[in-house]
């Protein structure tokens, strides 16, 4: 198999692009996709600081690597979920990356903020662990950005993540969730920072290949709580569809973004207010994070 750009021996085949690349040309292809995402959705400028949410996995560290090399002013944010060895190892990967690239890294512990680590939150809420975890992460990312006076949070969500989320929303016709699914969500309130996903054009396999080629030491092991998660089941279904028809995930997601998403946007915007307890943005009197935190504190005080 030959590289589409230089004709040398290819290292990676990209069936959905009907192409293969050598390592050097693949890295350039990857960076071009990120540049295009940032440009098309005006995600951020070189004059703005960017808070990069990092987990120690391939996607977020690949994203951070590209943004640093593209000359953006970045700060990493690692949220320690307290998930046993998984968190210990993923935190170490983030700290090592930040030290190697000489970039600042903020670390926040979920247990300090919510009152307990994710394994306890899982027991207390009796909801899927990814639910309380995701809620806490979104809240803490936004709050950390406000505290640091950083206008935008970038996450490592890739094409597969976005396609799987869309698939889940469509399967249940969660029409409230559909307009919120976007590579870039603008700030709609002074206390809500912009949220962007610069890797949304790149597949999971492409980010893994990029991280490998760039010799980024990332955590390969799965989060122990992700085993059996619905999103994983959806990804597996989409993988089968992609195998049968390369480009299926891309067409599903990009078709939605270009053709269907506008139809789900509400005529009237949701009214946002500040949480009576913590002051962060919510649609109700007390925000979901404060309610979760109360629930955890009540349960652990017993």
């Amino acid at each position: 198999m030959k590289c589409r750009k230089c004709g040398g021996t290819a290292t990676l085949e990209l069936r959905r692009h009907n192409a293969a690349f050598c390592a050097t040309d693949f890295v350039e292809f990857f960076r071009n996709q990120v540049r295009e995402a940032i440009r098309k959705h005006r995600m951020f400028t070189r004059e703005e600081r960017v808070l990069v949410a990092v987990s120690g996995g391939k996607d977020s560290l690949a994203l951070w690597d590209v943004l640093i090399d593209e000359g953006y002013v970045t700060t990493g944010l690692y949220l320690d979920l307290g998930i046993f060895d998984y968190s210990v190892e993923s935190r170490a990967r983030c700290e090592a990356f930040a030290a190697r690239r000489h970039v600042p890294l903020i670390i926040k512990r979920v247990s300090d903020e919510v009152g307990a680590p994710v394994p306890v939150i899982k027991q207390v809420t009796r909801r899927p662990p990814c639910s309380g975890c995701g809620l806490s992460k979104r809240y803490l990312m936004n709050r950390a950005a406000l505290e640091e006076d950083i206008p935008v949070v970038a996450t490592g969500h890739n094409l597969d993540d976005e396609a799987a989320t869309l698939f889940g929303s469509v399967m249940h016709w969660q029409t409230d969730a559909l307009p919120r699914q976007s590579p870039a969500l603008p700030s709609t309130h002074p206390k809500l920072v912009r949220r962007v996903k610069p890797l949304y054009r790149l597949s999971e396999r492409e980010t893994a290949a990029f991280a490998f080629i760039r010799k980024i030491d990332y955590i390969v092991e799965e989060c122990p709580f992700a085993v059996g998660a619905t999103s994983i089941a959806h990804k597996q279904i989409l993988d089968r569809m992609e195998d049968a028809s390369p480009g299926a995930k891309h067409n599903f997601l990009f078709g939605f973004l270009e053709k269907a998403r506008p139809a789900f946007e509400r005529a009237q915007a949701v009214e946002l207010q500040e949480c009576a307890r913590c002051g962060q943005v919510t649609t109700s009197t007390v925000c979901a994070f404060c309610k979760l935190s109360d629930q955890v504190k009540r349960a652990t005080a017993r």
């Binding site: 198999m1 996995g57 975890c133 995701g134 992460k137 993540d161 799987a164 999971e204 980010t207 390969v220």
Partner: protein, 66 residues
């Protein structure tokens, strides 16, 4: 040849001297779900792997989304 698999980490032995895509098919692994690593390099599905090779099939899926 030796094949290193992850999640959980384990090692299996399969016949070599054939193409990567044939090895993946025998193990019932979709090519798009793994990186195929030999030494310090990624290898494409059309490449031959020898009987004395060791390859790693590294899953690319991450997740647990909310």
């Amino acid at each position: 040849m030796k094949v290193l698999l992850r999640n959980p980490r384990r090692e299996v032995t399969v016949a070599g001297n054939r193409r990567v895509k044939d090895v993946l098919r025998e193990l019932d692994i979709l090519p798009e779900t793994v990186l195929v690593i030999r030494g310090d390099d990624l290898v494409t599905p059309d490449q031959l792997v020898r009987d004395d090779d060791t390859i790693e099939l590294r899953p690319v899926m991450s997740g647990g989304l909310s």
